[in-house]
Amino acid sequence: MAKRKASERPEERPRVEVVEGEAGPQLVVDGLLRRHDTLPNGQLVLDDYAYDPADDLEELGRRFADHLDRAAAARAERGDA
């Protein structure tokens, strides 16, 4: 039986939230706080997803979620856990 790809299971998409913290807005993905940093050009990157900068945190969260989806799909494609 073929595995269903993660991207085909919208109910399993990472849940992305932007919350206000003491140091300003913070990105929370699936309940985990994800550190981010500001580049010299003003764009934002996540520590764990550093090579796809975005102009705002919400967009960064969306991209990161997409990346996690693709990663999960890739792993599923290869039969990894």
Binding site: D37, T38, L39, P40, N41, Q43, V45, D47, D48, Y49, A50, Y51, D52, P53, H67, R70, A71, A72, A73, A74, R75, E77, R78, D80
Partner: protein, 862 residues
């Protein structure tokens, strides 16, 4: 300079070495440190700034340096992520980076992004300015592979994944390619702190320091890309090419040494030198492959033809690929062929009258008188020899005498006059000091002495110079020594030490018997050959019966300048001796007499040919390199005159054929013992050179070891550096080990060569400890002399035979006793008892039935 190439082009060795180096730096914490550094500087110029490319150039250079702590030949390879896009590519295979995922907890998700295309790279390379190039390169080509790999590689600590470095090596190569395609385009800063001369985040290094990647590495670019021009430099300190102190008639090699900075092999053309001859080239075209060695050698030759002359010349070498064209100065200096002054120093203590073991009634002195003259006969004109003797004093024989004309006869006459002193002791130090004095006046290039002794230093009641005392005074002399007998009798430790310290060596004959007729003669031949710069090519022994013919092949090469074929035999007149060239041309005594480059002569126990090379013999080519033959034929028996000749008349004639060459192909042999007691390790080293440089790989070297019990073994000497061979064995048994070191191989022109040398090692029970009372004797000298005399009497021997006592074994036992303390301990001061006491001791020994029975039990014939 390192060459960085596609990981798919790594050899299995390079690939494995790279993987092992990664594990090495991981274990040392280097990987974690690099990941932390990358994280720390990520947002401070390492990324998304005009310092992106120079920062990572420096970063991966530093990592490469760390990898080289594991192996200096490691270079970073690159991953071309536009062409190598499969998640099952060899990049992720089990023999490369695949296992790192789980082993290092990298959490990769290969395929989780879209990789750049070759078109993307082409687009980047087309950007005309730096500020248009780097941002797109970073975003379009650099970023996606990080996310495609995923896990650690997608994070700020991406250097935790080793593929980081292969990826950034690829990005750096694209920058290098862009620089090649846009020469002169300036570095453009994107901020006030990220300019050409601003330090890169975390270091004092600036972009200006790393703009030229050629200071770091070479790249093996993709097909169709612009190639960095290979760079070639003459190695520092190697110009001009010098050929110094080359003996007249010899050829030396030296090289134009080039350092190559390239990824591909380069072909160098060597023109004929200006001033050729004496200068010459070995090859007109030389390929230097930097994957094997970044240093290339373009060999040249210099033939010294006129002693004292100097020559200057030039040679042009060029390499089209590298646009390299240099004219290199050459300098050559010829010196006269070295000559040697050799002092023969002969022990004439009473023990030289003792039986040699070679045959009945043949004393050690007689063996010496047989063995030494052939070495004199073989020595070329131009050298000088002296003969002196020592007992407890030194005595002149003949002073340094040039070996030319009558000189050879005079020196051999002095050897013939040699006679032991029945009351003589063994003051080796006095003999050495006297010979050193003789050599002081020598004008020859080399000063050497050959000390022959059959016992340990023993001055008796006399106060004489010791070996220790003269050791520091023989500066400038090469000292060789020959011990006629066993190690425990001669105690060669100090003499060996003295020899080794002067670039000489010591040889021991061990116990002689009928099969060792030529041993002492061979020792003299080899030592004389060494000091007169001759190499031993071949040294076989044989027995030749009436009507028999032996054809003995030997190899000469183009590196040989002249050669000698020496036939040692007690009866040279009974053997027809001819030489056959590689083309089959026969040289006999008659041919030699009429040929200006040949000479044939005979001595009392020797016949020899001197052969100039190359040798014109009327054929289309002069005879030189190839397989020659010595042809020996036995004439009918003739009446022999001497003891040794008679000993040879047993239906066969023993002979030793010795081929020597004055040659550009040389073998140096070194023997070192870890001690003198059984169990000592004997280390052998042989160094082969051709034209003064180590011979190229492919030669083999073995030592044929004859143990004290006569059994034989083989020690293979392993090659370390080119031409440098070493091997060892344990000398487990008491006695003398005869070592025949034989090297075979090919010259640079592919000709087969052989080289041989003899050495000995010796161990004995108690070896290395202080000899008992070395200068005072053990107080039994008169008794020993008397017993020795009696045992030479046939009547006494028959008496012993009747009691089933082996007279020879008794003699050996007594000889041993006479050289050591008869009580088995330190005898203390000499207690010479006088003749009455001696006679009484002997009488007691011989009439005491119990003593005889005890002796019989020990010496009973098997």
């Amino acid at each position: 300079m390192a060459c960085r190439k596609d990981y798919r082009d790594l050899t299995p060795t390079e690939k494995d070495r790279f993987v092992q180096a990664l594990h090495f730096v991981k274990a040392n914490g280097v990987v974690a440190q690099f990941a932390a550094d990358h994280d720390a500087h990520f947002s401070h110029g390492a990324h998304f700034s005009s310092h992106f490319l120079p920062w990572h150039r420096e970063f991966i250079r530093r990592f490469e340096v760390a990898l080289r702590a594991y192996h200096p030949a490691v270079s970073l390879p690159y991953w071309n992520s536009t062409a190598d896009t499969s998640t099952s590519s060899p990049l992720w295979a089990n023999d490369f980076l695949g296992p790192f995922d789980s082993a290092w907890g990298l959490n990769r998700s290969l395929g989780g992004a879209t990789l750049p295309t070759p078109g993307d790279v082409d687009t980047m390379l087309g950007r005309g300015t730096y500020d248009a190039f780097w941002p797109d390169l970073e975003t379009v080509v650099h970023n996606p592979p990080h996310n495609w790999v995923g896990g650690q590689m997608a994070s700020r600590t991406s250097p935790n994944d080793p593929v980081f470095f292969l990826h950034h090596c690829w990005i750096d190569m694209i920058w290098a390619q862009w620089q090649l395609r846009h020469p002169g385009e300036p570095f453009v800063a994107d901020s006030l702190s990220t300019g050409l001369n601003d330090p890169l985040s975390g270091w004092s290094t600036t972009p200006a320091d790393v703009l030229d990647h050629r200071t770091i590495n070479s790249y093996d670019y993709l097909a169709g890309w612009t190639i960095d021009r290979p760079r070639v430099t003459i190695a520092p300190g190697t110009e001009p090419v010098r050929f110094l102190d080359v003996p007249d008639g010899s050829t030396r090699m030296a090289a134009v040494v080039v350092d190559v900075d390239a990824c591909e092999p380069l072909t160098f053309v060597v023109e004929d030198p200006v001033a050729a001859p004496p200068f010459g080239k070995v090859a007109g075209s030389v390929v230097v492959n930097p994957a094997v060695d970044t240093r290339g050698r373009l060999w040249l030759t210099y033939l010294a033809t006129t002693a004292g002359a100097t020559h200057s010349g030039t040679v042009r070498v060029h390499c089209a690929d590298a646009v390299f064209d240099e004219t290199v100065d050459l300098y050559g200096e010829s010196i006269p062929r070295p000559t040697a002054a050799v002092a023969m120093v002969l022990d004439r203590s009473n023990s030289m009258n003792y039986d040699s073991g070679i045959g009945p009634g043949i004393s050690r002195a007689e063996v010496l008188r047989f063995s030494a003259p052939p070495a004199v006969d073989v020595t070329e004109d131009g050298h000088a020899l002296s003969v002196s003797h020592f007992d407890h004093d030194a005595h002149a024989g003949i002073g340094l005498t040039p070996i030319a004309g009558i000189g050879r006869t005079l020196v051999n006459g002095a050897i013939g006059d040699y006679a032991p002193n029945p009351n003589g002791w063994t003051s080796i130090g006095e003999g050495i000091a006297f010979a050193h004095g003789l050599l002081q006046g020598a004008t020859e290039t080399v000063r050497a002495m050959v000390v022959l002794t059959d016992g340990q230093e023993n001055h008796g009641p006399h106060n004489r110079l010791t070996i220790d005392q003269v050791a520091s005074t023989v500066v400038g002399d090469r000292v060789f020594a020959i011990g006629l007998g066993q190690g425990d009798a001669i105690r060669p430790e100090k003499l060996t030490q003295l020899c080794n310290g002067t670039s000489g060596y010591m040889l021991l004959t061990g116990a002689l018997d009928g099969s060792a007729l030529f041993r002492l003669a061979k020792y003299y031949q080899q030592i004389f050959a060494g000091v007169t710069n001759n190499e031993v090519v071949l040294d076989p022994d044989g027995l030749l019966g009436v009507g028999q013919e032996h054809r003995i092949p030997f190899q000469l090469t183009e590196a040989d300048i002249d050669a000698k074929a020496v036939l040692l035999t007690p009866a040279p007149g009974t053997i027809e001796f001819e030489i056959e060239s590689p083309a089959g041309e026969v040289v006999d005594a008659g041919t030699a007499a009429a040929h200006p480059m040949l000479d044939f002569s005979t001595g009392s126990a020797v016949a020899l040919y001197r052969i100039g090379l190359p040798l014109p013999l009327g054929g289309p080519d002069d005879a030189h390199a190839g397989t020659w033959h010595a042809v020996l034929r036995r004439r009918a028996k003739q009446q022999s005159r001497t003891h040794l000749e008679r000993s040879a008349q047993t239906g066969v004639v023993p002979y030793s054929l010795l081929v020597q060459a004055y040659s550009n192909l040389r073998m140096q042999v070194y023997v070192v013992q870890s001690g003198w007691s059984p169990g000592a390790v004997v280390t052998l080293r042989a160094v082969l050179t051709e034209y003064g440089v180590p011979i190229e790989r492919g030669a083999t070297c073995v030592a044929h070891v004859t143990r004290p019990d006569g059994t034989q073994g083989l020690v293979r000497l392993m090659e370390g550096a080119d031409g440098d061979f070493e091997g060892s064995f344990v000398a487990a048994y008491d006695g003398v080990y005869q070592l025949r070191i034989v090297a075979t191989g090919g010259t640079r022109r592919g000709r087969t060569f052989t080289r041989e040398q003899l050495r000995t090692a010796a161990v004995w029970l108690g070896g290395g400890s202080e000899p008992v009372d070395p200068n005072g004797g053990n107080g039994h000298e008169e008794l020993c002399e008397l017993v020795e005399c009696l045992l030479g009497e046939e009547g006494i021997r028959r008496l012993l035979e009747r009691h089933e006592i082996d007279a020879d074994a008794l003699r050996k036992c007594l000889e041993h006793w006479c050289r050591t303390d008869g009580e088995g301990g330190d005898a203390g001061p000499p207690a010479r008892g006088g003749k009455d006491a001696t006679v009484e001791s002997l009488r007691n020994l011989l009439v005491d039935k119990a003593a005889l029975e005890s002796l019989a039990r020990h010496l009973h014939r098997p």
